[in-house]
Assembly symmetry: C2
Homo-oligomer: 150 residues x 2
């Protein structure tokens, strides 16, 4: 993974609540009003299960969060009790586009999945992002199917 | 969910190791040699995290496992700390095909996801299974992208 000078890829910290984490995620989809207590509660839930939840950020030279991503690791029985990584919720702050931070985030999470012993990593994306993920070394798999309740 | 008479949809039990669970999964993909101790270890890992891992089976009138499926529940920050269900590892024993057990399994896991408060359920499938999942109330989403390490 190559980052611009002064940028850092690291695990999410609880203090990122007031460090542009939610604002960056909002470029991806709706987040809603999350209080600091609610954030801490979820942060602790994720932190108690480091073998499953691996939330990461990229910070800029000022130390501000400018990209987000989650690696969720699923323990299966198939493939000799293999683990599968799921890459989720990749977002990049609009003011930081053009620096390949999305590529760095995906590459960082993909390397982490390999280091943690996953036999594969998967993710779902819209058709116009297929080319981007191919640049990250992914190939097309199947079709994502969705059922929404709300 | 409608099952043929005598068939039951239930959570996986540790005794299913010697009740055709692995053999049913093998119709889906390679499983490898899993000892009873290895199975118990993973079963306990899943059981410690019932808010995440929901492995299910369908048994036939003889009580034998003839279908499998997993609902993995992911806790996100987005969508007001919403949960997303991932339907994984659906398999049906070849001798029990034609009884719509796959449909019952997917419907059972989908209902469970809704009951557990997920705002959506997603899964990945091959193109020739799209029609099947449409019958389960799913619609096409994006494209699955994969990177394999082994």
């Amino acid at each position: 993974m190559t980052l611009p000078e002064g940028y850092t890829f690291r695990r999410l910290e609880v203090s990122d609540y007031s460090n542009n984490y939610l604002e960056t995620l909002k470029t991806l989809t709706s987040v809603g009003n999350i209080s600091e207590d609610q954030f801490k509660h979820l942060f602790e839930e994720w932190s108690r299960l480091p073998e499953i939840y691996n939330p990461h950020v990229i910070t800029n030279p000022a130390g501000t969060v400018v990209a987000t991503g989650m690696l969720l690791i699923e323990r299966k029985l198939i493939h000799e009790r293999g683990s599968v990584g799921h890459v989720e919720d990749i977002s990049v702050a609009p003011s930081e586009q053009g620096k390949k931070l999305g590529l760095s985030m995906v590459n960082g999470l993909t390397e982490l999945a390999e280091k943690k012993g996953c036999y594969k990593v998967i993710l779902d994306c819209s058709e116009h992002n297929v080319r981007f993920y191919e640049k990250c070394g992914y190939i097309k798999g199947g079709t994502e199917m969705i059922k929404r309740f709300t």
